[in-house]
Symmetry: C2
Subunit: 483 residues, 2 copies
């Protein structure tokens, strides 16, 4: 009897175990093509399992073409021992091209210290999911099912879900942007938006200007794509305009990538006058501005600050990359590019050849949420929540750390220059005490930032913020003693 070595495992459905057992017998050559299997009744009685389980197992194997039951004769193996071999072995790591290798090398999820259970992590700037109104989302889901039916589960358009595009055009219009000669492409978020822009507007070795420090994902994308990054230092109020002009003249770059509001990682909000200067400079030299609208919605301590794009009226020199992911539902992968109609039309084809389009469901759900006013209510709520958290974190930092400068004026994180302490040394010490943060150097395209750190706090309780910063402070003191 082939089932002599069968042992029941309580955690797996019986039929799956029988199925697997028979497959092993076939693969081991114990059951040959043409072998007759015992009847389901026999198996059930020998193994003391329900006959239904055996029938299900046999049915599944039959539907997979492994066995066949012949009326009045019994069940037979029709698939012989599988002709698998194990010798087709390639060295995949040697087959990766430079782009693939760079993506791997620059992946901070692999290179930076990982979070472990029980740790207080200041690494993340993901939003606090407890603030999401899940009941509202449930209602929105019902609404879109009722309105759109199964369409929300079928293919959509590469450019994006029309009602969402319409909403976002209006939304950007309210920010002061003239939209009549512009259009929107829905993307999977900032990362896809920026990767597409870099992929189609630069060739290997082309120069792109950016702030230093800047968003580390942008650095990674540019480096992986072979861009020659020329970084312009940040002053306390934003990019150094004089150095920007020099670099423009020296390098004739393909574009300037800039984060004017709640800059990542510094949190600096660039003021109107400086925005105008940057705009004028780029216009004078015909350098496209790629404006990262990162966290613009969070602006809580400064007054309204229209995006740089709003300065360009009917011009088309500014490309705006929008995302709500840092405050709202980053798990729904939806961001957008607002730009000249012609540019969007070309990017639409690029999107179609990379991911076809974004999730129809995600777009419809987000659109319903935005359209029914839930978003405005939500923004008011989270602005207050994060402002209080920000102020709390600042107080704790001031009370516990010795630093040269705290940058910025808000956001979901604080960027600190410790002045004379190596942040990686500090991180190592903190790690031993179960606290981690982002070392500042990862935000610098070149060297720099070795004494800086970014503390993200959005998902931490005030208690953990207090405790964590205290530990950072103690670790800092220890290191200072050693120096």
């Amino acid at each position: 009897m082939i089932f002599s070595s069968f042992k029941i495992d309580k955690d797996t459905p019986i039929y799956e175990q029988i199925e697997k057992y028979i497959m092993i017998q076939i693969n081991d050559g114990m059951l040959q093509k043409g072998s007759k299997l015992p009847s389901t009744r026999e198996v059930s009685s020998v193994l003391k399992v329900s006959r239904n389980s055996v029938v299900t197992a046999y049915e599944n194997l039959e539907s997979r073409g492994i066995i066949q039951s012949v009326k009045g004769k019994g069940t037979f193996v029709i698939e012989s021992q599988q002709q698998t071999d194990n010798d087709f072995v390639l060295k995949w790591d040697e087959r990766f091209n430079e782009y693939g290798r760079k993506c791997n090398e620059l992946d901070i999820m692999k290179t930076e210290v990982p979070w472990k259970k029980g740790m207080i992590s200041f690494k993340s700037i993901a939003p606090e999911e407890k603030l999401f109104d899940l009941d509202e989302i449930k209602r929105d889901f019902q609404t879109i099912c009722a309105n759109e039916g199964s369409k929300i589960l079928n293919y959509g358009y590469a450019k994006g879900y029309k009602p969402l595009i319409d909403y976002l055009l209006k939304y950007m219009e309210k920010k002061g942007v003239i939209i009549q000669n512009k259009d929107i492409l829905i993307t999977n978020g900032f990362t896809e938006s920026f990767d597409m822009i870099i992929s189609v507007l630069t060739d290997k070795g082309d120069v792109v200007l950016c702030e230093s420090p800047t968003h580390n994902t942008a650095i990674k994308i540019m480096k992986a794509r072979g861009v020659h990054i020329v970084d312009i230092p940040m002053q306390y109020d934003g990019i150094d305009v004089e150095k920007l002009e020099k670099a423009i003249i020296e390098y004739n770059p393909k574009m300037l990538y800039i984060i004017p509001s709640y800059h990542n990682p510094t949190g600096i909000v660039m003021k109107g006058e400086k925005r105008q200067k940057v705009y004028n400079l780029c216009k004078k030299h015909n350098i496209p501005i790629v404006e990262d609208g990162f966290n613009e919605e969070l602006l809580y301590s400064s007054s309204h600050m229209p995006p740089i794009m709003s300065l360009s009226g009917l011009g088309n020199g500014v490309v705006y990359l929008g995302s709500l992911s840092k405050i709202l539902f980053p798990g729904l992968r939806v961001g957008w590019i607002l730009a000249d109609k012609k540019l969007i039309s070309m990017l639409e084809s690029v999107k179609r050849s990379r991911t076809i389009h974004c999730s129809t469901l995600d777009q419809a759900l987000l659109c319903e949420y935005l359209n029914n006013g839930s978003f405005e209510k939500y923004v008011k709520k989270v602005r207050k929540y994060y402002r209080e958290k920000y102020e709390f974190a600042i107080r704790e930092i001031k009370n516990n750390l010795q630093y040269k400068y705290i940058y910025g004026e808000g956001g979901l994180h604080v960027f600190i220059d410790l002045g004379d302490i190596d942040a990686r040394k500090l991180l190592k010490c903190c790690y031993e005490n179960n606290v981690i943060f982002m070392p500042g150097d990862i935000f610098f395209p070149g060297s720099g930032g070795s004494t800086c750190m970014r503390l993200g706090f959005a998902r931490l309780s005030n208690e953990d913020i207090k405790k964590g910063i205290k530990i950072i402070g103690q670790s800092e003191k220890e290191i200072r003693k050693q120096v």
Copy 2:
């Protein structure tokens, strides 16, 4: 009174109209910085609108930093006429690189005749959404909300949603694949999977082998990425193995891309012996096989046919690209790559630098649907549905068309070689009679296929299939008369 030229539009909320009106007045210079606005009471009485609408408009403008209300004094414009200029104009089409231009040129949504209302379109091979069980999806949504809470709306992992990966590993194991040294990366679907593979394993000018004809999206991606495509003719039972070996020896290609089951566009299912030959050839020459699992789930007329990957046992030379999109929920953007663990780890970093990860919600929803058994029931249902539709379409084709050969044995489409009629000429004629289809040449990487056509029928009623094919037949006759 500044509202003298205000005209109410019934289709837009009043507060929005007031907001917009004030913005126009400011941008036109009619309202200067410091100008006092009429009180909300006055506006409401003059315009005969509810005071609430006016208050909302003023509040919105204030939160945007355009106006400011000063207690006891009134409301004032604080933002002066916007300093926009229209002169920053770039010629974007001249700034696109070769990759961008190729994506645009090869976009058949732009180059092929578009569908118009009232037309019968055989172009699409998207599934019939009426078959989707929306009520089941609603229940699944409730379940994941209950189990996962707001997590389904927050960031996830680049590799994918763990329970979904686990399900798919088991799923592939049931197809006969040994999974122990392999892993899965969740992607946005076949397009992203293949684009990533091509992006990291080939450099410009590298040779990739594929079938001719083959999936037109794969052709587009390879051409856009600068791959040198060497296409191997299809015989009636699949790729020409002799020519494949010759090409391998001549070109030492980076990979073979192949669609063994329900091949797109021909519908051919490659039999076991040929699969083994292809596998042995590639193994002998160390050429990775990229296997497109397209429509494998639909197999309805042939017996179980394990994927080529199942032949490789513990070897790692085969990469499997999976997708359910052609039968299930293509609007949920979820596909997968199953491959060697090391390769997946590198691809995970590539995914992270391109789109971070796929929609958490989509993945959780699909996973719930798959796990609770709904999928198996669904596959049984659609197999029957599409088989009947396929057989119906074949009958109509045989009754109405003159052709040289009908390829394949099923799927959501039929590929026909008309023998001596130019398919584009036929398409032009059909278009005038409100019927469109895919001309065969788009599936040929080089020249070829000019007498072929693909008819997709999944979303057409039998009535439209009958009517559409009749019109194609009549058009064909007309053209034959002219010849």
